[in-house]
Symmetry: C2
Subunit: 210 residues, 2 copies
DNA sequence: TCTTAATGTGAGCAATACTCAATTTTCTAC
DNA sequence: GTAGAAAATTGAGTATTGCTCACATTAAGA
């Protein structure tokens, strides 16, 4: 199993596009039943009703299939979050940061087969390039929510990195290790607290404990 | 490759213990050269100078070998952090939280082959039970540092989860994606800011933005 | 020294990821 | 329509893998 790259060949005819989506669909179904290690490419091809050769015409290796699913999945989640942010545009009464965290958590709490897909994300993330996690997109969403919430601190490369990773990975690991937390109000509260602390101007925070 | 479990058989004689540690040593060496997917059990056995049968006498499957290495590695890091915390016992001038974050970051910045080992951690974490990451140990260390820093907010299950995961995974992903950040003072500052915000009593934080 | 337990061996099996030469289907231009 | 090219599909086959097991060797205990 080699490091994953992009699609090997572009499907031009409708027939070919059908094959690709059938393969992805079959893989998703198998992921509901089995662990990722137990899923073989031959198995996927069989369930999709295409030959193993067709599979490798479009995916350079096994990992690429899982990466494709993970990317597709996370894109959907982010669209949900972005949509929720847009919808809450005029809603200034409630804190925009909270709005976003709520949408974010919800997108993971609602989705089926969370754990399996997150594990795919982690597993691919751990071998592939970082492309799988669109952290830039998250950072932009955060920045938008921030502007609306009235916080003024400018995010540097470093602070943006810490903020986005902290939020993202906390939700990801919660989805796997403690999914019940996603339903708790307190979980949302803690994330909001964290994000707001990272966004508040420095003067208001420093040296309160000394 | 099946889900990893514990060691298959306990090495009683010195000869056997030697075999086990030789296998782990050989695997570590291979990890410096190759990606985890390209390392085969036969390859490990060959390099360790033991037969493949001996390898499977002590490790139930391939993953178990990597888990063993990851656990061993992370235990060392935590010992370093714990040690640093202890040493700074009388040192009340500097914030205990900062002391801990610094030791934590340093343990990742100094270690050789960080990225490779973290990837092992992530990959195993993504299939195995959560045992690989001793988050409880981290939570305890944090609590210790907290008490010393004078913060008073009690940690619940939820807040402890968010705090430990946010800190741990931010450092982990930084080690892989942006190792240069580990050397920046600002990175430490941001983590300290985050932790202190999570530990400060609620009254001092709420509704500052409204 | 004899017995038993612990350790080590490696040929071999089932399963895997992936290739490629050959075939079938669709598109295009006349 | 029809011919030819391009796109898509096929699946037997290859190399390699994770792992087992019957057997050989070494050490421990009496």
């Amino acid at each position: 199993m080699q490091p994953p790259v992009k699609m090997r060949k572009n499907a031009k005819q409708a027939r070919a596009k059908q094959s690709v989506s059938t393969i992805l669909e079959a893989t998703t179904q198998l992921l509901e039943r089995s662990e990722i290690e137990q899923i073989s490419t031959n198995h996927i091809a069989e369930r999709a009703g295409v030959s193993i050769g067709t599979l490798y015409q479009y995916f350079p290796n096994k990992t690429a299939i899982f990466v494709a699913i993970a990317e597709q999945d996370i894109e959907q989640r982010f669209n949900l979050v972005a949509e929720a942010i847009e919808k809450a545009d005029g809603d200034l009464a409630e804190d925009a940061t909270r709005q976003m965290m709520r949408a974010f958590i919800k997108s993971f709490a609602d989705a089926k087969h969370n754990a399996a897909l997150i594990r795919v994300l982690m597993a691919t993330r751990s071998t592939a390039e970082a492309r799988t996690l669109p952290v830039d997109a998250i950072a932009k969403l955060l920045a938008k929510a921030v502007r609306r919430s009235g916080a003024t601190r400018a995010l540097t490369e470093t602070s943006a990195f810490v903020l986005t990773r902290a939020v993202l990975w906390t939700i990801l690991t919660a989805t796997i290790d403690a999914p019940h937390l996603l339903k708790r109000q307190e979980f949302e509260d803690e994330l909001v607290r964290m994000v707001q602390a990272m966004l508040r101007p420095s003067g208001e925070l420093e040296d309160l404990t000394q």
